[in-house]
Amino acid sequence: MNSNPMRRVPLVLGNKTLKQITDDICEPVETIPSKGWMALFLGAKTLFIFYILTIAIVVSTGMGLLGVNHPVGWGTMIITFVFWVGIGHAGTLISAILFLFRQKWRTSVARSAEAMTVFAVMTAGIFPLIHTGRPWLDFWLFPYPNQRGPLWVNFRSPLLWDVFAISTYATVSTVFWFIGLIPDLATLKDRAKNKIRYMVYGALSLGWRGTAKNWSHYEMLYLILAGLSTPLVLSVHTIVSFDFAVSNLPGWHSTIFPPYFVAGAIFSGFAMVITLMSLMRIGFPKFKDYITIDHMEVMNKIIMMTGLMVGYAYGSEFLIAWYSGNDYERYVFMNRAMGPYAWSYWIMIACNVFIPQIFWKRNFRRSIPVMFVVSIFVNIGMWFERFVITVTSLHRDFLPSNWGQYAWSMYDTAILCGSFGMFFTIFLLYLRVFPAISIAEIKPVMNVGKEDDNKGAH
């Protein structure tokens, strides 16, 4: 592509001018949606409405509609909750950690990845609320002054830590994402051709004028928020893993869970980013210049690496189970691989450990169809990872008389599929409402106005 091997590959292709960039990125927000988008949106929206109905039925009738039972007290809702929270991780990692490490390639994908984070956390956040037996009393999970004594929450419970972790994460990542949007929203306002648009984007851009002082404050705030978000990337899934690790159930009670969950979360998050970016490149062909194959390749490398990390975690769990000499724990792991749910275990292993390894080959790493398929497999695999952890640990624990199976029902299917409807509805709307790539951030990483022999990027 370029003759000089010392020269960096440009992050944006097509020798765009600054105006072109603005035009390209604003186009989806300022044009009538294509048929493809409409079809996807209608599908997602229908699924979303279906999801709302399902939730309404479950909340009004009872948790018994789902497959959760005795002994498997947690099921689809918790599995899918962990799945979506995990998805959320890549966004913050890309936007905050890579920002702090000055990884310029992040700029093209950061906006959408972060949007994905916010929407995934929104999707996930519903589950802990509706999976309770009496969802109308969920506010009791929050420590607030009350007239019952006051009756305080139980600070020893990992579920409570979860409440804080998720709500903090949701808040910080939403703020971080929104702050990043402000200059672009101002751009949209400036380009607005009708009054409503002007007023809405004007209000959203919080009076951004693009002055040097604005920029100075903005950069500082963005840096601080990036700093705040960074520990959250690690802490949220660590705390989610505590739901399992702090309990005393064999297969859950494990010190490896926090790093293992974080690696898995990044793994699944990047897979979802690949899925979404592949679709965005197809839907908005102009974005191909911004979200280049090089971007995708970098993310595929991360997938490959984190895939190996979760593979390592799977292996070490077995080792520890054997080494601990604990009969119950040994049994749980043997049962995972050979018991009635062995199929789910091997789906997980195949999708998470083996399939991503094809990225060792450069052609596959850089092929959109291949990476799309792999990313779907990884998403499936990571859902099954949570299924394996939740269900196979619970279904056969200490006393064999308690052993049972998860009673999967059509409501489980509806809840699982419906959550995708919710996520995609919001994400598709986002694509039409906000610039999917950060205009303000992409411009500084351009080669525009620089000499060809400029060493390194700006």
């Binding site: 018994g64 007290g73 419970s157 409570l160 200490f398």
Partner: protein
């Protein structure tokens, strides 16, 4: 006059009073003051100002000077009046006068239950009860601990019968049937008693009256029937589906008197059961269970129980040594044992003739180890006079059943057990039912010799074999009168249904065995327009004006009963009391007299034995019908608690099934739940197969009592009717030993079990040891873990509740489960939801199989909340809905629970139950009356579990406090403990050094904590189970995955 009014207050109201009722209804028996009595104007005025706190009154008092009112008080008033308006809007006040509990009956204190003595009889076994009544409605049935017959134990069915009282499908009025000429239709309409009585009496006057009933344990009811017989010349026929006429006939042939003797398992050191499920369903299983357990409490001197069985019954599951046989081999077993004893040169003086010749090689015929078989015989002989051999039950109703009983009697006489462990005098003389009676009746019906048939609590159209042709014969009877409480299979074919009271609404008495006289008090006034059977007979005699004086004199059966007791029972049991004292004592204590005992050995009629010749030929598959502990003969099939109760052995709920062995299943290519067609002669049923480890390979065992068609919404079409397979061969009704054709019918059916896995997977869950192990080491097979903690744990300064469960006593009878269900308002969820793992039982009994699968042994373990000191559930609840009490209870706060189910996930014992749906909403009226008001009915979405009956703990503490004394061990008895016939469950205070539980916790070598190494520090200790089988358990390395393999000392496997 349609109920036996035991409310004396109401009975006193005469017609005069009724006619001269004042216009404004006011109860004038009580008045608040003389003013009220005279109803002066002053009084009227004082009434209006009586409630000093009324906001309305306060307002009127302060009229004109409202500025005196501070804002705060004004708001208070506003709040109060708003609340009042609100209340007026919500509460539907009846227009008519309603009466609060002002005239409180003397003995009732609101909120404090009363206990009344009564009885329950299930057709075979009787129980003295102490029924809990709350504000006039019975809410819980438990045994009468002072009753000498059952010593406080009640069967599952006895306890669950409570629900029958509140069954919405119980008939609520007399009915008659609008038959067409061929009686093919079924159109019942309700009628009035006057109308029914008139028509019935017309029919009765035509003569040829027969009364068909089940066993009548009540002398007074029997007297009414007999008196009625004198009035109308009626004959009384007694028949039960589960008859013990085989035993009675065997006794007659052997000793000359037809009795059903009592067997003293407590005194027997060696017990051999040949298909007699004496721990589950045979004769008096609950009393036997208690006696049996008592004979095993002292491990050093515990009895040995050997079971030869063709169905994996509860008795088989508890046996020290178990031999699987098929029904046709039962006689061979007994004859073989006799042969071994005689061959060893014992038992001289009793002639055996040539009867034993075909049984010289009995062990080989049975396919059993000859050494082991001989050992059983020698154990019997070595315990001569201290052993007992029993055979009986449906499983033994083969063509040989008569001879089997004679052989058993012979063996007992040979061993000198008769008069010692087999006591005829203590026998149950009122178990008179027989199939011969029934056969005779059907014959008469067919001859047209029966014009009117009165059927009382008997359901031949369901339970009687079709071979006898009862249904056809019934069409030849002019008038059929049915006295029962439900529209069942037989009632539907009756012309008149003289709807009977529920047992809990009826006065009665009972004489379960000679010497003990019990009273049966009603617990509630008749809920509907029903009339007891006894009163119906009395009324009909009264209208016809025939019969003995006492039959037509008394207006209620209560009066008859009193007179009867005075005439016939008072003199026997008076012991110096006048009648009123005697009567009051009787009502209070529930019984008088004492069990007859002794009697000595009876002479055996030699020729009965020498004529024994085996009739039943062996066949490739043999039928063995049996009863289940829960359902029994099927009478209580509409009681959901019983269907929801897992079978003690198979743990399957809501179904019956054809049990086949593992090998038979392989041969027939069957999987669990595959439908099979079971054919006996020309009769066949299609039923799912259950693969039962340890069953004989050539047996097809099916439980009767299922497949009801008119039991009600709950019981209809649950399982298949196996009574259909019972057949008449040579004028005998047979239930077992019949050749069966079994083949795969195609299709699958979900058999639902509450237990996921049958093996302990080598974990230390139920610890079993043998008597030899125990001799070596009292802690045999218990692996103790070294546990430690870095923190001191909870401090319990007052009480610390704990429980011990002796697995050596527990037989798995499941009485505790029903007791808990009744006490704690536990919902029934039904088969579908149990399949999804949503059963709600707070206490469950786990059953594990041990040993090799072909000869699997079973062990039982009641599991309930362990009330851990380091409870894993408590730490994980985000809203602190499950908390630790200062007395060591793990408390569940339903109000606070949001239902995350994290506690259940974290519970190593998985004892927590979640309300997946709003089950409480499904409680149909008047079923809600069975609820215990002291226990919250849990709403949807909350977790629940065993509370250690915290309501009983509170009551116990309050009683002790109000009596100004310290709580004694045994003051508080939890529901499962009360129900346990073997006293395996003991509850008490661990901080009391002298309590039974703290002694076990401190010093009992057999005690261990379940999952001790997990360090939840449970407040329950299990005591290891000892099998008295003279084997030695191979030492087991800790962590070894293999099961407890039992190896016999000298080769031969049993």
């Amino acid at each position: 006059m349609n109920n036996e009014n035991h409310d004396h207050e109401a009975a006193k109201i005469t017609n005069d009073q009724i006619e001269n009722r004042p216009l404004v209804e006011r109860h004038t028996n009580y008045w608040r003051s003389f003013d009220e009595l005279n109803n002066t104007p002053e009084f009227q005025k004082s009434l209006s100002t009586e409630f000093m706190s009324s906001p309305l009154r306060a307002e009127s008092l302060n009229e004109g000077d409202s500025d005196k009112w501070a804002r705060r008080e004004f708001l208070k008033l506003m709040g109060a009046s708003m609340a009042l308006t609100g209340a007026a809007g919500c509460i539907r006040r009846p227009v008519q006068k309603i009466v609060p509990y002002v005239n409180q009956p003397e003995e009732v204190t609101l909120g404090i239950p009363n206990y009344y003595s009564s009885t329950y009889f299930d057709g075979q076994e009787g129980f003295g009860l102490r029924v809990q009544s709350r504000e006039g409605r019975p809410t819980h049935i438990q045994g009468n601990p002072d009753h000498l017959y059952n010593h406080g134990a009640v069967s599952v069915r006895g306890q669950a019968s409570l629900l029958g009282l509140y069954d919405p499908e119980r008939l609520q009025a007399p009915h008659r049937n609008l038959f067409n000429e061929k009686r093919t239709n079924k159109e019942t309409v309700s009628t009035s008693w006057e109308d029914l009585d008139k028509k019935v009496v017309e029919e009765l006057k035509k003569g040829s009256v027969y009364i068909l009933s089940g066993n009548i344990p009540s002398p007074a009811t029997q007297a009414v029937i007999d008196d009625f017989g004198k009035a109308f010349g009626s004959q009384h026929v007694v028949w039960e589906p589960i008859s013990n006429d085989d035993i009675a006939e065997g006794q007659r042939a052997s000793y000359g008197e037809a009795v059903v003797p009592y067997y003293r398992f407590q005194d027997a050191k060696m017990i051999v059961s040949i298909d007699a499920d004496f721990l589950g369903t045979w004769l008096r299983p609950v009393s036997f269970t208690r006696d049996y357990a008592n004979g095993r409490k002292q491990i050093e001197k515990m009895s040995r129980m050997v079971s030869f069985d063709s169905t994996y019954s509860l008795t088989a599951a508890n046996a020290d040594l178990r031999f699987k046989i098929k029904p046709s081999q039962q006689l061979t077993v007994v004859m073989g044992l006799i042969n071994e004893i005689v061959a060893a040169g014992h038992g001289g003086g009793m002639s055996t003739g040539s009867a034993l010749t075909p049984f010289k090689d009995a062990a080989a015929q049975l396919g059993l180890n000859p050494e082991a078989f001989k050992k059983v015989a020698m154990d019997l002989w070595n315990n001569a006079g201290k052993s007992v051999v029993v055979a009986g039950g449906l499983q033994t109703r083969t063509a040989d059943s008569h001879q089997l009983q004679i052989a058993v009697n012979f063996l007992n006489s040979l061993l000198g057990n008769d008069g010692k462990t087999v006591v005829a005098k203590q026998g149950m003389s009122r178990l008179k039912s027989s199939y011969a009676n029934m056969t005779e009746l059907v014959k008469k019906m067919n001859q047209g010799a029966v014009k009117t048939l009165i059927i009382y609590r008997s359901n031949p159209l369901y339970a009687l074999t079709k071979d006898l042709g009862f249904a056809e014969a019934l069409n030849k009877v002019n008038t059929v009168i049915y006295a029962g409480e439900r529209m069942d299979e037989t009632a539907a074919k009756a012309h008149f249904i003289a709807t009977d009271n529920h047992q809990l609404e009826t006065w009665n008495d009972a004489e379960f065995n000679g010497g003990l006289y019990s009273i049966h008090q009603p617990l509630i006034r008749t809920m509907y327009d029903t009339r007891s059977f006894q009163l119906s007979l009395m009324t009909w005699a009264f209208i016809a004006n025939v019969g003995p004086k006492r039959l037509i004199t008394y207006e209620t059966f209560y009066d008859y009963l009193r007179a009867f007791t005075k005439e016939e029972m008072f003199s026997k049991h008076a012991s110096g009391r006048d009648f009123e004292t005697f009567w009051n004592d009787l009502l209070q204590k529930g019984m008088v007299g004492e069990e007859a005992s002794g009697g000595g050995a009876r002479g055996f009629r030699g020729d009965a034995f020498t004529n024994i010749k085996k009739k039943t030929a062996s066949s490739p598959y043999e039928l063995a019908l049996y009863q289940k502990v829960q359902i029994g003969d099927g009478t209580l099939a509409n009681i959901a608690w019983l269907h929801e109760l897992p079978d003690p052995v198979t743990k399957i709920v809501w179904d019956n099934y054809a049990c086949v062995s593992i090998k038979a299943a392989e041969n027939l290519k069957l999987k669990e739940g595959d439908l099979v067609e079971v054919k006996v002669g020309d009769k066949k049923i299609t039923i799912p197969a259950h693969i039962q480890p340890g069953l004989h390979d050539e047996v097809v065992a099916i439980a009767v009592g299922y497949g009801r068609t008119m039991a009600g919404k709950v019981g209809n079409k649950v399982g298949q009717d196996a009574y259909i397979l019972s057949s008449v061969v040579n004028d005998e009704v047979l239930f077992a030993g019949l050749p069966v054709e079994i083949k795969k019918a195609g299709g699958h059916y979900d058999l639902v079990t509450t237990q996921g896995h049958d093996s302990m997977e080598g974990r230390q869950i139920v610890v079993t040891a043998t008597n030899k192990d125990y001799e070596q080491n009292k802690e045999a097979n218990i692996h103790r873990h070294h546990t430690w903690s870095i923190w001191s744990g909870h401090q319990y300064s007052g009480h610390k509740w704990g429980m011990t469960i002796d697995l050596n006593s527990c037989t798995g009878c499941s009485a505790c489960m029903i007791a808990c269900q009744s006490e704690n308002n536990i919902h029934v969820v039904g088969k579908k939801y149990i399949m999804q793992g949503r059963e709600m039982h707070w206490i469950r009994i786990d059953r594990y199989y041990t040993g090799d699968v072909a000869n699997a042994e079973a062990v039982f373990q009641p599991i309930t909340c362990q009330h851990c000191d380091n409870a894993p559930c408590e730490t994980v609840c985000p809203v602190a809905a499950t908390v630790h009490s200062s007395e060591g209870l793990n408390e569940m706060v339903y109000n606070r629970c949001v239902g995350t189910r994290y506690c259940s996930n974290n519970c190593p014992y998985k004892v927590r139950r979640f309300n997946w749906f709003n089950y409480a909403k499904l409680i149909e009226k008047p079923m809600h009356m069975a609820l215990n008001p002291e226990v919250t009915v849990r709403p949807r979405g909350v977790m629940e579990k065993c509370t250690f009956c915290v309501q009983r703990i509170k009551v116990g503490k309050n009683v002790a406090k109000s009596e100004g004394r310290l709580l004694k061990d045994g003051d508080i008895k939890v529901a499962c403990e009360v129900a346990c016939p073997t006293t395996a469950i003991v509850f008490g205070d661990l901080n009391d050094d002298n309590s039974r539980v703290s002694k076990v916790f401190k010093a009992e070598p057999r005690a261990y904590a379940l999952l001790e190494e997990w360090y939840a520090k449970p407040a329950i200790r299990y005591l290891s189970k000892i099998r008295n089988n003279d084997l030695v358990t191979a030492p087991k390395a800790h962590g070894d995955e293999h099961k407890n393999q039992v190896t016999p000392p000298e080769g031969g496997h049993v």
